[in-house]
Symmetry: C2
DNA sequence: CGGACCGCATGACAAATGTCAGAGCGGGGC
DNA sequence: GCCCCGCTCTGACATTTGTCATGCGGTCCG
């Protein structure tokens, strides 16, 4: 019995190399490749793979978004995510999007092939180190508004602009930022943004 | 005649896959692999490859640093850099470090093999799109100190801390930041940091 | 029903940051 | 030798920010 695999990664070098290596396994066959989020979705619809292996960072729509869409459209298709730099929050988001496997790109191709089989068999697999990080990072202490405001603050915009984009008063924005900063133990909102990013909370 | 290649990339998945694919070309042989900057250097010393293919982002020492060291120690070894997200400034730094090839990871393995041959033959190769970006971005308008201070400011540290780390007075730090901000056309130092990062100027 | 509590908002105040003018020093080019 | 430029600093000022006390409208629960 062979497993039909969809491969999505914007780095051609990796995608191609991976396709070649996975193709060597005689129980795996790569039926489609994609370089962007939307392309991955289209390919999945067209080829109905058993397992979709998605890169987390892709142009168009990230791996988690694609996973969410796939869950609705092709419930039989197991989704797993491969990522370069796994942030704890991403893992959480991925799991709640129904992703069955989550591995860093530091694993070997053999290992990846095994994990594809594991996932195809209906089991889950999460890289132990990433799982530990996620547990250590815990849940986001931020309220929805705080996270939203922090996101608007991400590119260094001044408070006035954040307030406008969030349709809040400037004072309110500063309060949210202030409480976010203290919850995260940061020195100011910019390092707060950085911290929240690292933990995957924004 | 075969080309002896050193492969350095911290993502095992990619490195392994690449090694396998390049190994298929009968004029290329991968003689060593490394996952970190220092390891790449050690491997190069031990195996004296004809061409070193380095990832730009690696733990320990980035590709450009390794290239600089290699240039001194093994002048006969041609160095090329492969990167996921090529920032204009990186290309510039790489070229002045004596790198002969600079390609994004979006190329195919075939293409990479060709480029390895090109580089081995003594020619240079730079991805056209990255080259265009680099030309468009131009030279950094920042003075050495401005860039240094901007780097210290990168993680959102307050002025006092930057001043201490740079061994400057706070007023001076603010002046440098101010001039960097105006040179970059940013709204504040945080977006200045972001801009300088994007252009590869820090 | 009434109180406790939470998210959200406001305004006032304190601290940090951005901006500007000026000034001494040293190196490199003409 | 002289001038220009970059480096460093100072002091003063406007603006932006962070912090806090407080108020208002909900929901949950006894």
């Amino acid at each position: 019995m062979t497993v039909r695999v969809l491969l999505a990664d914007d780095e051609h070098l990796i995608r191609g190399a991976l396709a070649a290596l996975l193709g060597l396994e005689d129980d795996l066959v790569v039926v489609a490749e994609a370089a962007t989020g939307p392309e991955a979705l289209a390919m999945a619809r067209a080829h109905r793979p058993d397992v979709a292996v998605l890169d987390l960072e892709m142009p168009g729509a990230d791996g988690v978004k694609v996973a969410t869409a796939l869950r609705g459209e092709l419930p039989a298709c197991r989704v797993m995510i491969v990522t370069g730099h796994g942030r704890p929050g991403h893992l959480k988001r991925a799991l709640s999007a129904g992703v069955r496997g989550f591995v860093p790109k530091t694993v070997s191709a053999q290992r990846l092939a095994e994990i594809i089989r594991t996932v195809h068999a209906g089991n889950r697999y999460v890289d132990p180190e990433l799982a530990a990080d996620a547990i250590a990072a815990g849940d986001s202490p931020l309220t929805a508004r705080e996270a939203e405001v922090l996101e608007f603050a991400a590119d260094g915009a001044p408070v006035a602009e954040i307030a406008e984009r969030a349709a809040l008063s400037q004072g309110t924005v500063r309060n949210y930022l202030s409480s976010a900063v203290s919850k995260l133990g940061a020195e100011n909102r910019h390092s707060a943004v950085r911290l929240a990013r690292e933990r995957g909370w924004v």
